[in-house]
Amino acid sequence: MIETETYTINIGPQHPSTHGGLHVEAIMDGEEVKDAIVHVGYVHRSVEKIAESRTYAQFVPYASRLDYLASHLPTLGYVQAVEKLAGIIVPERAEYIRVIVSELSRIASHMIFVGSLAIDLGATTGMVYCFRDRERIMDMFEMSSGQRMIASYMRLGGISADLPESFYPAVESFINDLPGMIAEYHGLISGNEILQERCKDVGILSAQDAVAYGVTGPNLRASGVDYDLRRDDPYGIYPRFEFRVPTGQNGDSWDRFMVRIEEMEQSGRIIKQALRDMPSGEIQAKVPRILKPEKGREVYHRVESSKGELGFHLVSDGSDKPYRVHVRAPSFINLMVLPLICRGGKLQDVITNIATLDPVLGESDR
């Protein structure tokens, strides 16, 4: 019998495939992963503490920087939480525009997911195609808000500016081209047998474990749990739209990939409907210059971000600044299943698993 021993290998915090400052301590036996320990906190910016010294309106750009890959979604969650707290009614048109930009954000975020999975598995070209298509969304954000990535477009009670005329043809041609883009990803990335081999039956997360760990979003749906906040706990005007919630069966990396691809299609459907029904009118509700919600009020508002359930817990003490802001970051909670799904796999599977859990460290570490 040959005597063997395990060794520890540090994947990150400086590593090409950890999507930011993530540190995974892998305990290895040869190429096999015995255990993995996730260390987070390298991108901690104390966003929640900063919120306590900013007025309600001033925090919007900070919220934008939580999930920088889909920056409209955290800002949407935050402004809706404040609106709930202060009882602000948002004009119809603003609601529709919010839906359009946040679904575009979701598509952009999922495109990054597909691209980064491709490059993490060594297919450099796949990444470039996804980023090329995402660029069109970034251009649209630049048209609407003046910012590409971290667009602080949402305002308390509305949005910062109405959509410019050039936005409509851009978004329409994008939605029309979306099926073609997805077909291209299927041809180049998901149609590849090597990629399928590396994703199928890798990092299996059972529905039971997913629920027990509090996993949400596409990762939960890939495990077969049919749960989407847009449909099951609707916010804004989401009940007006028709869309399907895609689910997977096995909860492996491949399902997590396919669920996201299908979500892109469904987001396209929602945008189409929103463009069709959008009324004209005001984009900003009357909000007092200095917003002082009632003392002792507390709200928890959650939205379905591209990563999962993104919640904001706000506590008001009657001043113009929140007493406490807590962010329920889906990336952080989703990351915690990484050791579970990596155990017993190969070193290369750890990379696949990190990529398919799709964490954004800015949001996870806050």
Binding site: G122, T125, V128, Y129, I194, L347, Q348
Partner: protein, 345 residues
């Protein structure tokens, strides 16, 4: 044009003999000259290849690729090489100094030695070895040791993992590589590369040995550590695998050697399966360059399209698919030769 280089060599030899040098000395000087030319050509060729690869990857990825320095960015690689030459040469304090330092040098030496037997045109091989193919394959497996030296000597876990992977991979793919070439050897009845080229006078061996060519191509990709088999480097997993601790020119030597190997393996494919320097109108040395470059383009195309295969799939693919297929190919080739001989062809 056809005999341009051979004639120059002949003129030089006779000139040296006429100066009163014994013929053996004249041959030796000529040999040294040929080696120098090969080393220079190999190095310059890598500069072209790096530029070409970047341009091709740019084309595949809808980018422009290098386009600033010189026409179409042609001087970019030269600038990069200058940068690498002037970089600090860092040797980690915990590394095994001598092994760490010799690994890249040995790697490039082995890569250049491969060119000794390649017929770069009619009568244009440096050494006309009667076991040329055998020499080529055995040298190819030596480069495994250099990668192991680099990975183990660096004293870094990523490097060691990369080195271990490359050893496992290269040993497994050495076998189908050699087996796939056996079919060609059986048809040509020789291990001498120029004789194999001559044997393809009537038809190229790609027509008779398509399966062997495919297995050779796949196994060669693995031998070259190129994508989708770039296990030892595995940028996204092992940061840079066996090369993690290398900087500056030492790292560049690995890079140089990999491209040198790429040219050698492609040239061998052109020699064994595509009739070497045979072709109409153009001189033979130009034909082999064209064929080699075309094969290299396919290698690059593959690298920029495929994701990286997983280590255990890689091993099982070699042992469960490639080796049985190449063994079956040998059997069928043997039966075919016997059959056609029986028919009196």
């Amino acid at each position: 044009m056809e005999h341009l280089f051979t004639n120059i060599a002949q003129i030089l030899t006779s000139w040296m003999v006429s100066l009163g040098l014994p013929p053996i000395w004249a041959d030796l000087i000529l040999l040294i000259g040929q080696w120098t030319i090969i080393v220079v050509i190999v190095t310059l060729n890598v500069i072209v290849l790096v530029w070409l690869e970047r341009k091709i990857s740019g084309f595949i990825q809808e980018r422009l690729g290098p386009n600033r320095l010189g026409p179409f960015g042609a001087f970019q690689t030269i600038a990069d090489a200058m940068k690498l030459l002037t970089k600090e040469d860092i040797i980690p304090s915990q590394a095994d100094r001598w092994i760490f330092m010799t690994a890249p040098m040995l790697f490039i030496v082995i890569a250049v030695m491969l060119y000794a037997v390649l017929p770069l045109g009619q009568g244009m091989e440096v050494v006309d070895l009667n076991v040329g193919l055998f020499y080529f394959i055995s040298l190819g497996s030596l480069s495994t040791i250099c990668l192991l030296m680099a990975g183990w000597g660096s004293n870094n876990k990523w490097s060691l993992l990369g080195a271990m992977r490359s050893v496992a991979q290269m040993i497994s793919y050495e076998i189908p590589l050699a087996f796939s070439l056996l079919g060609v050897v059986m048809l040509a009845g020789s291990l001498n590369l120029s004789e194999i080229v001559t044997a393809q006078n009537r038809y190229w061996f790609i027509l008779l040995q398509p399966v062997a060519f495919l297995t050779y191509f796949i196994a060669a990709t693995a031998e070259l550590n190129r994508g989708p088999f770039d296990m030892p480097e595995a940028e996204q997993e092992l940061t840079a695998g066996a090369y993690t601790e290398y900087t500056g020119m030492r790292w560049a030597l690995f890079f140089l050697a990999e491209y040198t190997n790429l040219v050698a393996v492609s040239a061998l494919a052109a020699t064994l399966f595509f009739g070497g320097g045979q072709g109409p109108w153009l001189p033979s040395w130009l034909w082999i360059i064209i064929k080699t470059y075309l094969i290299m383009l396919v290698f690059m195309w593959m690298k920029w399209t495929f994701p990286r295969i997983r280590m255990d799939h890689l091993m099982s693919f070699s042992w469960k698919v490639l080796i049985p297929v190449s063994l079956a190919n040998i059997l069928i080739t043997g039966l075919g030769i016997e059959f056609f001989r029986g028919m009196g062809w």
